[in-house]
Symmetry: C2
Subunit: 427 residues, 2 copies
Amino acid sequence: MSARAGIVVTGTEVLTGRISDRNGPWLSDRLLELGIELAHITITGDRPEDMEAQLRFMAEQGVDLVITSGGLGPTADDMTVEVVARFAGRPLVLDEALEQRIADILRGLMQRFRHWDFDAVRAANRKQALVPEGAHVINPVGTAPGVVVPGKPTVVVLPGPPRELQGMWEEAVSTPAFQEATAGRTDYEQDTLLLFGLPESGMAETLRVAEREIDGFDRLEITTCLRRGEVEVVTRREPGEGEAAYASLVELIRSRHPRELFSEDGSRVDDQVAALLAGRRIATAESCTAGLMAARLTERPGSSGYVAGGVVAYGNEAKSGLLGVGPALIERHGAVSPEVAEAMALGALERFGADTAVAITGIAGPGGGSKEKPVGTVSFCVSTTDRGSLARDILLPGGRADVRERSTTVAMHLLRRLLRGEEEGIL
Amino acid sequence: MSARAGIVVTGTEVLTGRISDRNGPWLSDRLLELGIELAHITITGDRPEDMEAQLRFMAEQGVDLVITSGGLGPTADDMTVEVVARFAGRPLVLDEALEQRIADILRGLMQRFRHWDFDAVRAANRKQALVPEGAHVINPVGTAPGVVVPGKPTVVVLPGPPRELQGMWEEAVSTPAFQEATAGRTDYEQDTLLLFGLPESGMAETLRVAEREIDGFDRLEITTCLRRGEVEVVTRREPGEGEAAYASLVELIRSRHPRELFSEDGSRVDDQVAALLAGRRIATAESCTAGLMAARLTERPGSSGYVAGGVVAYGNEAKSGLLGVGPALIERHGAVSPEVAEAMALGALERFGADTAVAITGIAGPGGGSKEKPVGTVSFCVSTTDRGSLARDILLPGGRADVRERSTTVAMHLLRRLLRGEEEGIL
């Protein structure tokens, strides 16, 4: 049976929703990779008694490892180390070498902030050098060190800023206490299928068929989730176990959803489009998404190899002036129309000397809708100099942010289909 | 003493980090507005025993109200209603009127999906019409109804998709069971201060001074958090109590951080810039942020009133071709330089016939850095036709995504300063 872990996220700013937690999800992935089963994530404010209650809950649930994030800062409301020390029954001791290391880091940092008093800042950070007796100190990436506190459960204490937590993770994993706590873990096989253009109910029905028809289906732990218009099917199983069952499941899904299934290896549409764009030059022409598509295409390092640029043509003057869309065309068909989308795409091809262009024009709302073109109506056109074009008009659900974000996903799938030479398929 | 609540977020896709939870933060804000104290948020997978353990934990912590999100879908791994019914000791009963309502909703939805079998989908959704005896049904916004289950604690069961959960919240709050569970709650006063360009340690030091100098400081519940380069100081207190202490705190922060304090009413820099742009026309010229700035400026409905558009000039050809930046200038100073940023801003003013422009060019990494211009080096220029320009070169911390995102925040603050006529101030 594999090691189980819990994550305790601290911080009133997280609990009260002023910042949303990015550490729980990231840590979940790391634990999964290590074959450690994540049982619970809990989020607490800066009240010591609430945090202790959560640590006790984790211990009662019998987890082998607890990872905490946050509450290591210099302010008085940062008290994770203190609470964990009490929970583990270990006194706090000052680590002088660590205090010196923090001071050195601060001296460097302070250069970025003028009119700041080094001693004041250093004093504020002194408490960060107090560690539970017998704990392993993890070197800070920012100014806050982490600790690994041996015990049952072993507690790994990491800072809240994702960049710091992520940078300190490897060292935490390598500590003897972490390794002992998670000994005897089993590595799971996990595979991810992705489908686009399918209602989650459709997948539910297919899984019911699979349950009836596939031997050893019960060895598969399947979760489905609908995200950004894509259905994600993740299957976990123990190595060796249920390989045949999984193969049959993939076969069944292929046969029932040939057009919707776009990834059998968990690769995102973004990964696939990036690969398809190698050696090409793409330009964007965006109205309602106003730069989100260009930003999404450039999320990856190296995207400068194939992204030429784009125009955010928010107003009609910009559509005409920068993309050469005829005012008469806009007048006749409206700014949200396949005709204008196509003209925007052609304009982008031409202005950027690109061989591939994607144009998006739509009504993100809340205003601007009409009976013929309600809020959520979006026209897309993907054009190439060598593979023709593909256009779609789609009605997207949700509010302004949903429509804008979902539009980039639809555009990604249109790009994928056209560049793969699959012009058909539902979208 | 005020009512306390807990939130149980369900779903293996959330626990395992494949989607990050947006409901916990949103619900936290709603509870705060209602004066209900949020004690714990817990996240569980689709294992019934883990969800039950969390519900018991909430009960043991004595919360009056538990809100669950997720696990109401049609797939077999969606079992929240079943688990909550067992926890509350209420049998599940089929609500036929509800089943009919769901069927009607589905019939409408199915129009969006061709080659789909209505009966199969309806069957998949039938389980969504099973509700705990005596529970109040909340009408679905999507296809999944919610329930409010009276008891100690009272459990509010809502669907996972944020749009659905948010659309059903008001009805849940209005139920007698919700109102009884949260009776006798106290409304808190809460105020938010925002500062930019200050290390969190600087605020820690200021708060230590406040603790020494301000009478009744202990009546203030203060949390600080560093987000997107801004320090947020949130102060809660009971009405009447500690008003004077809070006024002194604001005075102290004003006097110690006159340049960094930019919001005393919690308004975001985005809100302030939107107001300052009224009656103006802004255009963007982006390289490393590749559309994120334009997208951020257009997040608000009505932004088409002042946003003309923008150019994503990712390659140098685009900088020259679309923004008229001289190749010689790029050659001489490099694409990431104040000179090129200024030329990009002027090009944007001219091409869009705008009176305000913001240009961003930088090295987001991971590659492209040098000794003189390391990764994170970003040049900004904000230009107007009537108030001059403001330029900055800044070294931003973090990875590619951090640098891109943080750059939009710096640009927002430069815009704010210039449009308010404060050209000075650290950034």
